[in-house]
Symmetry: C2
Subunit: 369 residues, 2 copies
Amino acid sequence: MTSPAEQAQSLTPTAIEAAYGLIQPYVHRTPLLTCKTLDSIASTPQSPESLVGTPFEGQTPASPKFRLFFKCENLQRIGAFKARGAFHALLRLIEARGEKEVRQRGVITHSSGNHAQALALAASTLNIPAHIVMPSISTSSKIAGTRSYGANVVFSGSTSVEREAVVAEIQAKTNAILIPPYDDFNIICGQGTTALELNAQYTEQVRSERTLDAVITPIGGGGLNSGVATFFSDKSTRVFGAEPAHEGADDCRRGLQAGERVTRVSTLTIADGLRTPVGLLNWEVISNKRKVEGVFAVTEEQIKAAMRLVLERMKVVVEPSAVVGLAVCLFDEEFRRRVEEEGGEKGWDVAVVFSGGNTTVEAIAKLFG
Amino acid sequence: MTSPAEQAQSLTPTAIEAAYGLIQPYVHRTPLLTCKTLDSIASTPQSPESLVGTPFEGQTPASPKFRLFFKCENLQRIGAFKARGAFHALLRLIEARGEKEVRQRGVITHSSGNHAQALALAASTLNIPAHIVMPSISTSSKIAGTRSYGANVVFSGSTSVEREAVVAEIQAKTNAILIPPYDDFNIICGQGTTALELNAQYTEQVRSERTLDAVITPIGGGGLNSGVATFFSDKSTRVFGAEPAHEGADDCRRGLQAGERVTRVSTLTIADGLRTPVGLLNWEVISNKRKVEGVFAVTEEQIKAAMRLVLERMKVVVEPSAVVGLAVCLFDEEFRRRVEEEGGEKGWDVAVVFSGGNTTVEAIAKLFG
């Protein structure tokens, strides 16, 4: 096994392009949408009152100019970008081990969320048996969703120790191969195809020599953000990350401040896709200042406010985790100052990745009822 | 004044094409989306239990094949198809009376819903003063939305008598010209452009000689349905209408059965855009069997079930009124039998018009919380 630092060296734009060639037949080219109403809201200074209690209290609110481009991975297959990584990791596994061996052994993962459904879909599409270990407290819609792709759902307790024990047990029986959710070279390359696609769509849409000024994505385990940062690592587009701040879910931001990866997180943020700490290989990319320029964190109320705007104004359904990047653009005064200072009169063209849309009307009711 | 029957004679596909030429610079070409999951759900027979208590109880559930094409007027400007009619009526008014007269007198309407915002937008775009009479009990988001386009919002009581009194009062003072919400030749032609657009998009997308088998739209006042039926009146595509059944909101269906237009409706259906009776000129079109082949009605629970599917599976936000056509495809056994019988093995390509998406997270919470 090569070390994460060595593996990170191979994370190049070329690797993302190769991944794209492989997964293209299996994933949607999701739309890159714009919304004048959101541009105008984001380009309006916050009220002085909203800065009370922040380091910017008493200062003139920033007046940045945003043109936002929303990469709608909520409209991706299984409702999240995770389909990209799962297809890529499985296709590479088949390439490396041969179809026969992979089909005989099967694959396994533990996830209560979008990675479970993504791997189940990829496995059923490629005719590979899949075992998905889910906490028995998972919502019934997620269990049903995963089962609907024909995966063998196995229940476990909800701590990582309990989950890993069940995985080990099934592996002992079946010899199934683990496909991890984010801390994996091929998963990262798969998620990075989001960047390749949105960059091409941006160029098609703006029809000029302009390049994207920045991209911002959510950070949970960091698969999406490190993949996107890999793709842009030889381009002028800046890459940023966004996290929820609630109960220490901003492990990546805190890790960057401390100069050391935070390895444990225990949070019940409403952005339930972002409750995990950043993975090792992901950290190698994200902690590289030349690849990711900054990570920002937002409050639960800011996530809800951004989610409301997307549902009510853009009319697209997003899950709370999907909008942390937009919430940074709308509410993080440090980020907004930077856009004002560096973007000036012209402002910034910012791509915001909506990572997923897997929520239910009951969950929306619980958030806003 | 010509009679509705005479006016109806001039409602031709050519009139819709002319309307489109006029409004095209002002409205969005909204997407025509497909969704394999919804196709598959619609193409699955209902359970025998779900037919208990209906005329189809004890019979084998129909097994129709649907390929659905969703015309997303929820993504139209102001979030509903109403922008089409409002721009068209106002542009025609300016054509007929001259910009100077219309600007001096202004325009007026009474509406608590999407027509209010649509006329406010059209008027502000064309620099015409607009007075919008809204019931004082309107939700604050709708009042704010209408005001945000610079319209003069005037409050009234909520009965039609009270609203019309306020309109008369303002007209006496300002000589403002009334732009009605649906019972109007130019409004109908404007809404009919929805059909022209979706038909062109369908042809682009299927890339074959196939033609659309059917279109289904909601019916409130009937502006959208009569406009769509006008456009398809010289084509093979069948046009259907959909209404809520709750508390007699299915006035159009009942009127067709009785052979006479129902002129009064008092319902609090959750499909709040469809609480009005069908207009006179609209009735001339809709009651013509060669133009509209049938009108179906769905229950509140069926509307909610359809809305849930659209939000959770398609990830687009729709208001309850928008999904009555989809609810007919999913749940109306009579309609489903017809698709099975006439569509056979091949099935039907059906365009479903999502009329609007103006709802709030609180309203979603109230429906599903």
